[in-house]
Amino acid sequence: MAVMALGCSLAVQAQSRYALIGQSAPDFALHAAVGGNARLSEHRGEVVVLSFWSSRCTPCRTQLAVLNRSLATYHSAGLAMFGIGVDDDPAQAREFARSASVSFALLLDPAKGVSRSYQVDNLPMTVLIDRSGTVRNVLRDYSPEGEQFYLQQLRALLNE
């Protein structure tokens, strides 16, 4: 019973309204697992997708692959994408990043400052930011339906 109650409460939490929607996306600068550092504010004018992941999260790998496909399609339309790893151990996150084979930067947030500012309460979690730097949508968990919803929202943002 306790497990069911906990599961229900987590589901409710996952579906709860995201407080940052409509607000300016908190700026950050993070080290990348491979390559140079990245700063969000440098991508003002582009639609930015942030995906929070962890090396211990199995659906995160699927989610990152989906995002990578969408980046290949919409990159020329002004889409930027970052994966933000929340692992405590940067070495573990780097190993995951190397095996993920995605074309966008996978950033490391071991101190979890960025994760806290984006109120990450679920993994994977994807945040969509419009060209003016405002948080427009959030997707928690991964599902095929969620993928369709993500693509719809992304197209809408890119068309604005």
């Binding site: 300016s24 550092n37 440098e42 003016s132 730097g133």
Partner: protein, 238 residues
Amino acid sequence: MLQMTRAMPPTDAAPRHAARAALLAPLLAGLLAALPPTALGAPPAGPDATTPAASAAPPGAAPAAEATPGAAPAAAAPPGAAPAAESSPDTRGLDEEIQGLKKDVVDLNKDLFILEEELLFPANTQVAVFLSLDVGQFFALDAVQLKLDQKEVINYLYTPREVDALLKGGVQRLYLGNLKVGAHELVAFFSGKGPNARAYKRGASLRFEKGVGAKYLELKIDDRQRKLQPEFEIKDWE
């Protein structure tokens, strides 16, 4: 609160802008949605009139205002081609009005920024730290940590674009703060890739005397060709 005060238009300009807005209201609908009402010259209705202005002009409002002119010609274009040709002088006038309003908004933002700095960092307590990079053959900058009187004041991570800008001669204002008159110590830690692409971390420190006026310090990263090593220096601009 600063924005509220500064967003108020000059009193003599208010009736002029209000008349324009009344004449061009249908065509300016898109612009009105994006710009702060006071910037368009809506006359202040009293002390409460500042509140909507503040809510309509948050710090992030500038990009939205900048994005509007792109949409304005589309909004100004009439449905048919023939009416467009007839009303072209009006459209041109409208474009000029829009450009004028856009310039007003930019000027207001500039004034606001200057006023904010003057209030937050008065000249008698102000201390500013700048960073410049010369050549960069022996050092690829990654991050700078700054400590003032043993207290960390900033830890800045550099992206490849920022490093490129510094290498092209840019000078970055890394820190702006307040310090009381007297003796102080600045310590800077530079981390990045040194010769042979190895992880490289060095520090530099400076004891300085803060007088009555503003204090400007510069962190300089140079290449020392003779030693094939980077050199880190803190310069006090008297």
